[in-house]
């Protein structure tokens, strides 16, 4: 990596912002990991690979809703951005099956739905 300068920082920013496509983020801070986010992350990664899904699985920090950890946020193009909570192995699989493949939201696990109001 070439060191950034005042001039090249903005280019790096634009390039980094250009990430598109579907993604899943798993809350992998201490609160999430303690609640089992590590397993959830592994399952999601395995399944995505197994099924050859075009989706990025990423880690993120604590979103604050520690009572509902593990949290999994899902973005599939054309669908609202959804935060699932209390995600265990079964729910993780259901997210892949129903949400990502079936384009259906899951019952009883949604903690937030983020809508682009613009």
């Amino acid at each position: 990596m070439k060191k950034l300068t005042k001039e090249t920082l903005d280019a790096c920013r634009s390039e980094s912002q250009r990430k598109r496509g579907n993604w899943i983020k798993v809350g992998m801070s201490t609160c999430g990991i303690a609640a089992g986010a590590g397993d959830v992350f592994a399952i999601l990664q395995n399944e995505a690979q197994k099924r050859n899904l075009d989706i990025r699985i990423e880690k993120c920090g604590c979103a604050g809703m520690c009572y509902a950890e593990p949290l999994v946020e899902v973005y599939v193009e054309g669908m609202p951005q959804v935060v699932y909570g209390d995600v265990d192995k079964e729910t993780a699989l259901a997210i892949i099956d129903k949400h990502i493949s079936g384009k259906r939201l899951l019952n009883d696990h949604i903690y937030n739905v983020k809508v682009d109001r613009s």
Partner: protein, 581 residues
């Protein structure tokens, strides 16, 4: 269009009736009747961000929210909104979150281990602009305008610390990030370091530029393994990208960071003890003045800021001090992160504008009380803070207000208590923490704390007299006045504030030998309510000390002299026949 449905209906019963499922079935059924099942998905959600508003329905797209919905409204919603995209005006509700995420904005959004995620969210923009355009004085002035005060608990204006350190001429100055978070139930710093570590690093670089320091230390407690790992990665990446080290972003400014691990002594969060610890000495506080900004680490001017404070700095520079100052209340600017825990439904990390009331925090953000119990008090400020009783929950949260109530803002621990919490027990818990964590240097804290705990134990055991409260208060006052550091000066706060607001409860323990919250084991007695007892003998079979005797003909009795009050019988009885008082 890849979306499975044209419309999504999110619903939840936010009241206490818990009819989400019934309502869902009803809604589903009626949609089916209207033949909408392929266009509309009805979803039961676990949380809809609103509490005590009856049944809430949210419709996407359009993001229409209805509150107080009943079965009678279903048809109207289907006909008007789902079929014709018209809102049902009488049900409309404007959702407004009382949270305001400034410091936590990227926490939970970005991948903390990927510097590009941070850069994509305007990371290091503040640094870039500063290096290009601002003098160190400008930076300090911007902070002054922002009104930012230390988020670690002290509330000292951040710009002043920086200014003092800037004014001193020295061949070396240091920036220290205090991440020795230790209050029970508080984990704001950990979350920021784990979720958005680059913001802290950027804040430190800016601080270094403002005061003329070229070296910084992140002092993290060793138990925060993940935070340490992430900060290590962060420093590595920042170095790789030219954001740490020589000639940052190609400028003349150089600054580098190292991590120092704390061995877990609570007192090392006190800045002078922290410095001693970094220097490799016993973590003892030393007298101030000289303040660290004048004479700190290895005798050099040193700025010590808390994690949250430092993470706030880049946003302030990016959006302007005036913007930050426009948030919050008259006395306190900006937002504050709290770790909301205890008997509240949604325990977690919240960020709110200063000046919000405790009641709003507990009920509008926290979702209200767990199990529908009555709220008794909120504890703020950890072991240095105090309890704030229910009738004062409408006080706007800021440094001075909380202090007036006998508590403190502290680093952001906020523990909600209900009627099952005994105030003597709470005071005992916090004091015990301080007694264990006292460094032992100064007599009022070392011996005073120990003696205070002795009196509290006596009270909770029902062995105290009323004059013991006087002695307890006497030591509290001496410790407050004569202790060297914040730990000893504030450790009496939990005792004093519970005495102030719940003196009656202390007196009940002393006079009536009663603990109304049934927490103080020594004051409890167990016996069997014969009218409810079905003589199943499960209590007798489970009693670990054979204190229960009897048979299925005669019934059962608890021998109070043998009973060790473990509560086993109470827990196993299926008929609520064990009476605990």
């Amino acid at each position: 269009m890849t979306m499975g449905y044209k419309k999504i209906v999110l619903l939840k019963d936010t009241g206490s009736t818990g009819r989400t499922k019934e309502f869902y079935n009803l809604f589903l059924e009626q949609c089916r009747l209207e033949n909408l099942q392929d266009d509309v998905q009805i979803v039961r959600v676990a949380d809809i961000g609103m509490y005590d508003k009856g049944i809430v329905v949210r419709i996407i797209p359009g993001d229409i929210t209805y509150a107080g919905v009943t079965e009678a409204h279903i048809q109207k919603i289907i006909q008007q909104t789902l079929k014709n995209n018209k809102p049902v005006k009488e049900l409309l509700f404007t959702r407004a979150s009382k949270q305001m995420r400034v410091v936590l904005k990227s926490c939970g959004e970005i991948d903390p281990e990927n510097i590009k995620d941070y850069i994509a969210c305007d990371g290091y923009q503040a640094l870039k602009t500063m290096l290009a355009k601002s003098s160190s004085e400008d930076v300090i002035n911007e902070l002054k305008t922002s009104g930012l005060r230390g988020r670690g608990g002290g509330g000292f204006p951040t710009w002043m610390k920086w200014k003092f350190a800037r004014q001193i001429e020295a061949d070396q100055k240091y920036i220290i990030c205090n991440a020795d978070e230790g209050d029970p139930g508080a984990y704001m710093d950990r979350s920021v370091l784990e979720g958005d570590p680059h913001s802290v690093v950027e804040g430190m670089i800016i601080a270094g530029y403002a005061v003329g320091a070229t070296k910084g230390f992140v002092y993290v407690r060793a138990e925060y393994e993940l935070a340490i790992e992430r900060v290590e990665k962060t420093i590595e990446q920042a170095r790789e990208y030219g954001l740490l080290g020589e000639h940052i972003l190609g400028s003349d400014f150089s600054f580098d960071l190292e991590i120092r691990l704390g061995a877990g002594a609570f007192v090392c969060g006190e800045e002078t003890a922290l410095i001693a610890s970094i220097e490799g000495k016993r973590g003892y506080p030393s007298p101030r003045p000289p303040y660290p900004s004048v004479k700190g680490l290895w005798g050099k001017p040193t700025v010590i800021n808390n994690v949250e404070t430092l993470a706030t700095v880049p946003v302030i520079l990016r959006k302007g001090g005036a913007w930050f100052a426009s948030i919050g209340s008259e006395n306190a600017k900006g937002t504050k992160v709290f770790a909301l825990t205890g008997k509240v439904k949604n325990s977690g990390l919240i960020e709110v504008p200063m000046g919000i009331t405790l009641r709003e925090i507990v009920f509008d953000i926290g979702g209200g009380m767990l199990n529908g119990k009555k709220i008794k008090a909120v504890q703020t400020g950890g072991p240095s803070g105090g309890v704030i009783p229910e009738h004062l929950l409408d006080t706007p949260v800021d440094y001075e207000n909380l202090q007036k109530l006998g508590s403190i803002m502290g680093s952001g621990g906020m523990i909600v208590m209900d009627e099952d919490d005994c105030m003597v027990d709470i005071a005992k818990f916090y004091l015990k923490f301080c007694v264990d964590e006292s460094c032992g240097k100064c007599a009022p804290c070392r011996i005073g704390g120990f003696q205070m705990l002795g009196y509290l134990n006596k009270i909770s055991e029902g062995k105290a007299g009323e004059d013991d409260i006087e002695l307890l208060e006497r030591i509290c006052n001496a410790s407050k006045k004569a202790s060297l550091c914040g730990l000893g000066q504030t450790s009496p706060n939990p005792v004093l504030s519970t005495l102030k607001y719940f003196r009656e409860e202390y007196l009940e323990h002393i006079r009536d030998r009663k603990c109304r919250a049934r927490k103080c084991v020594d004051l409890l007695t167990y016996h069997i309510g014969q009218e409810k007892c079905k003589r199943c003998s499960i209590c007798m079979r489970n009693c670990p000390v054979n204190a229960i005797s009897g048979d299925k003909q005669q019934g059962f009795l608890i021998d109070v002299n043998k009973c060790v009050k473990c509560g086993k019988c109470f827990d196993v009885c299926k008929f609520d026949a064990i009476i605990r008082e």
